[in-house]
């Protein structure tokens, strides 16, 4: 009943059918896998957000939502910016070498323009949103030598006014800086990268 010729045809036909079946199954799996990627609604919610900062007073903070996360915009006073230098020895990653920020914000003030700090308000430890303790000194309840910054109530991480993390706290890196750009002097676009050479 079975001889070599028959077996060879069978093996070839099994190969072809199984191969086609595998290809078909592979293609059929694609829509199922893709259906789990962010939907149009998620992408629409994650669209860039335009923020008017003309009314933001010095020393104040504004929070907007971008991709479901709080984004802080802090208008820093000249004193606040100056104080950053004094903290270089106390923070864990003073040059932001290990932290996440666009290249145009990888500088001393971690911002495009020194005055306006833009941060993702999510602690890099376990995802809590830190509290703003912008004022220096005892008024923030952080002790007399506090120079202003953020404090995460979950596990006690501390960040300075450039979002840089203090040494010896649980958070491993500085607060993230999201991609952002200046549409005009008083309007920010969160989620769109600053084009090179602009602003």
């Amino acid at each position: 009943m079975s001889n070599d010729g028959v077996n060879r045809t069978r093996r070839q036909l099994i190969g072809v059918t199984a191969g086609l079946g595998a290809i078909g199954t592979g293609f059929a799996a694609v829509p199922f896998v893709l259906s789990m990627t962010p939907s149009a609604r998620a992408r629409a919610a994650g669209a860039p957000v335009e923020v008017d900062i003309s009314k933001l007073a010095e020393g104040q903070m504004l929070t907007v939502e971008w991709r479901g996360k709080p984004v802080w915009i802090v208008s820093r006073t000249p004193e606040m910016i100056d104080s950053l230098k004094n903290l270089d020895a106390i923070v864990a990653d003073p040059d932001s070498a290990k932290s996440i920020q666009p290249d145009y914000a990888k500088n001393a003030s971690r911002a495009i323009k020194d005055k306006y700090l833009v941060l993702v308000g999510i602690c890099t430890h376990l995802g809590c949103s830190p509290l703003a303790k912008l004022q220096a000194g005892a008024a923030s309840g952080m002790g007399d030598d506090w120079l202003g910054g953020f404090f995460c109530p979950c596990h006690g991480s501390k960040f300075d006014l450039a979002g840089r993390v203090y040494k010896n706290v649980p958070a491993p890196t500085n607060l993230d800086v999201p991609p952002y750009s200046y549409v005009s002097d008083t309007r920010l676009m969160i989620g769109v990268d600053q084009k090179e050479g602009a602003a």
Partner: protein, 455 residues
Amino acid sequence: MQKVFDAMLGWVDARFPLIKTWEEHLSKYYAPKNFNFWYYFGSLALLVLVIQIVSGIFLTMHYKPDTQLAFASVEYIMRDVPWGWLMRYLHSTGASFFFITVYLHMLRGIMYGSYRGPRELLWLIGMAIFIALMAEAFMGYLLPWGNMSYWGAQVIISLFSAIPFGIGDILSEWIRGDFVVSDATLNRFFAFHVIAVPLALCGLVFVHIVALHKVGSNNPDGIEIKKNKGPDGLPVDGIPFHPYYTVKDIVGVAGFLIIFAAVIFFAPELGGWFLEHDNFTPANILQTPPEIVPLWYFTPYYSLLRATTEEMVTKGLLPLTIVMTILTVISVRNVLAKMAAVGIGSVVVVCLFIFEAKLWGVILMGLGVGLFAFLPWLDMSPVKSIRYKGWMFKTALIIFCIDFLVLGWLGTQPASGPNVILAQIGTILYLLFFFLMPWYTTFDKTKPVPERVTQ
């Protein structure tokens, strides 16, 4: 490579009956070699079950069982979710194809007498699957929260209120969890639809296959192949399920998928038969659609329900009961059986006068489904397969099939004028197919059944 594989297989087999299961159910399960076209539908129904479960899981990832959100979440799946439209059409088309394959699978069983001994329990498990499937389809249909979903559920749940002595109202309120179909109803239907009933379905399908492999498959000749074994102890008319029927079923699967894909990609609504136009409007508790119509797979039973008017009870069911009682009394020899027939007959007659038509409609609808379960004991023919049965059974089955389709069609039409009378005639014929079966299968002239299966 081969050695490593064998070692792994040996390791597993020492701890789990892998090879034994494989042999018992596939490579050494002997099936009759004369299966024809009708024998594809069992494996195809299993395929549809898998399609429904997989597409259902992916729909559940995006669907919201909340009256405020449900309708929008379905449209969200259709538009915003990448490939969501395909998931939904797979599921909605799969629902209809589930019934197509199951109905053809059942018709195959009726044609070739697959319900006859020793396969009565196999048939009853199949009936349980059929009823679970209907519950699954009914509850799933509420989930899109379209206007037809809502009113369809409202009407069908209200059927329970036909149960007398105040039980009905309590029962329908209990099912809904509210005084009308509401958020509570939607949520519990969701729970049943996505986990409870599918779990039961999978279990029943498993038991169905175990029972099948215990008694062995029937075949178009209705011959027990186990009775005719060769010197090697294997049935001479049998072939191993694997590879012969696995390769054959793959062809069936491919053919089925072509038709399935054609509907999904080119006509997912199928002109309103698979997805109803009125269900593209969100549920509106203030406005009933002009015609409440269940999906096509329920319409034959829906017709039975609607055909049962006051007049139908007095002029149709009453004479039917009396005639059936007399016929039974004449036919059975045992005196006790005669007395039992008179007793049951008179109780039914009295009840026909006491209870209103609404209840009888519900009972008839239940009978429309449930009577199939009695087939193993109603069919008294000495042969199993239609091939060797006489003209009476053939005629009865043809009339029943046409009747089933006509009732199905009538169920989608307005119940008025000639439609009502036609549905009433159809209802009587439907019942007679079952009720008269012991007689026409007894008196029918059968042909001799051959020793071996024919090709």
